[in-house]
Amino acid sequence: MWRRCLLSGMTMWLAATAPAMAFIAYVSNEKSNTVSVIDTDTWTVTKTIKVGQRPRGIEFTKTGNFVLVAVGDDDKIEMIDTATQEVVDSLPSGPDPELFTQDAAGKILYVANENDNAVTIVDLEKRVRVGDIQVGVEPEGMAISPDGKILINTSETTNMAHFIDTTTHQIVANVLVDARPRFAEFKRDGSELWVSSEIGGTVSVIDPAKRTITGKIEFSIPGLRREAIQPVGISITKDGKTGFIALGPANRVAVVDATTHKVTKYLLVGQRVWHMAFTPDEKYLLVTNGGSNDVSVIDVSAQKVIKTIQVGELPWGITLVQP
């Protein structure tokens, strides 16, 4: 309680004194086995942290004290202390962890393990594995509903979004989507769940209450063959009005009207764009370009790419502390 007061107090103070707020972004570099730290004030890499093998999924803990990074080839999740910016501990997972998500309280971590068709449940405070949930073939995308009741896992070869009850840990529904679902993202008000299908080339819009697909976001870029458009990362603004979808080897981020589900603009970024994250003030969206080893910075309101920052080899995931 005391800590929470202090933290929110600090946030308020920072917000009041620093209008051009600086944030810290952490980028996992799949090939370099490093995490690049980016200062969003100067848009420079301020530190490169050595981590385990094949870092991919990366996320701040809810407290903001740690950044968690899944190091798949070491079969664990490493904890980076955000104060020292060094790896201080690790969490257990199943074999080959890739993406993960936390419950609303930040106490439970759900990890997709690509190698054994299971989602592993980890107690974040005790730092121990407490259970597994059997899902489809090659689990990947993970998301938790805003009310914390439903965990979503996508399985890449089964082509489903599995709805898992977070209390009973039972699968309560399965929604078949297009081929190779990679990523799942809820709107903040819980009204929609978006699931990207990399090989199918679409994003399915799912009604989380009815658990059915209500629409599909389709992409078409002149001069690009359909096979090259492979949606992966999804970010939706807090107001639920605008979505951004990374299109992999199409080297573009699609800007989507999140009400009509139509693409309004394609932003050219680096090569093989994968995952992305907003700055907490939602002024900027940072996207990882695996093929060109850099991060593109998108000005959200202007819908323009304003900066490119060189990072490590094959940048994969990115995280910024969220308020």
Binding site: V137, T158, L176, G200, R225
Partner: protein, 393 residues
Amino acid sequence: MIQWLVGAIGLSLVATHALAADPIEIGIGYLGHTGIKSKLSLVEQPSEDDGIAGARLAIEDNNTTGKFLNQRFFLDEIRLKDDEDVAKAATALAGRNGFIIVDLPADGLLKAADALGNRKTVLLNAGVTDDRLREQDCRASVIHVAPTRSMLADALAQYLVWKQWKRWLLAVGSHEADKLYADALRRAATRFGATIVGERVFEDTGGARRTDSGVTLIQRQMPVFTQQAPAYDVLVAADEGEVFASYLPYRTWDPRPVAGSAGLVPTSWDAAQDQWGAIQIQNRFIKLNSRRMTARDMQAWTAARMIGEATSRINSGDPKSVSDFLKGPDFSVAAFKGQRLTLRPWNLQLRQPILLVDGRMVVSVSPQEGFLHQVSELDTLGVDRSETKCKLH
């Protein structure tokens, strides 16, 4: 009246209950042959379960998905000896299964297809690369998962041309299959702007594949076989008979790279492939079969996965409905090759990228950048719609 109503409700309850309890059973036959074709290299020696091991993994994958959809898959295997009757075995399998994955030579596949005639059984060719099966000898009941010789040759040619290795010395074996592969390579050279500056035929005079003093002899034979050639960039070998090609690398008269049946080899799959999430299927395969995954394994996996993909989309195991879906515009399958694979509607050939491998690594994947096509760049590999001799009916 009330009694009747109660009875009706009871009945409908029973019906829905039965629906939930009984899974849709989907039988997939596998028609292969016993015995293995010996390879020159001991490390390439295929396993007895080459091919079918991939189908077994796909059945597991399909069943993991199937448990969420109330679908259950099983594999029904028949492996024929050389003198056994293909038609009889195919008919027996078709009696029990709506789908048959076939791994037989071209004539065997045609016998199986023709024996089943007007049945609605769907055959999936996971083994044989003969172009004629997709052209003049095509059948409406046969879907081809294995790539053709022309697709393999085109994939190799695109890379060699991209490398600017445009002058080829072609070395051809004396077996029928070698000649067919050589035809595909000649066609590819013409299509993509390479020149065959000379041709050599390597006669198979018989004899043992492995002898205790083989190396000494071979390193004298191969330079002689390749000497006095016109200036060339790359030696391209067509040796499906496994007689000489693997002896060529490092033994040519001129220091030149080797491609085709040895050296840089075009293939649908390789144990070294780890891009596009492939490491996951490689790990699953090794765990299940205690060996590495071959091209034939991948072709059989893809065949069984295509059936699973279709049954999950249409929520039915009916062969006619599955076949319609596979041949329709909505079908595509993900098979760890970086893009969706679809069927060419005019001859039922699966479009697919082709890997170029050197035995240890994946060197490249074709189609190469810059080889364009108005429909799909995958159609730059193999016989295109406008050239086809296939008439499906």
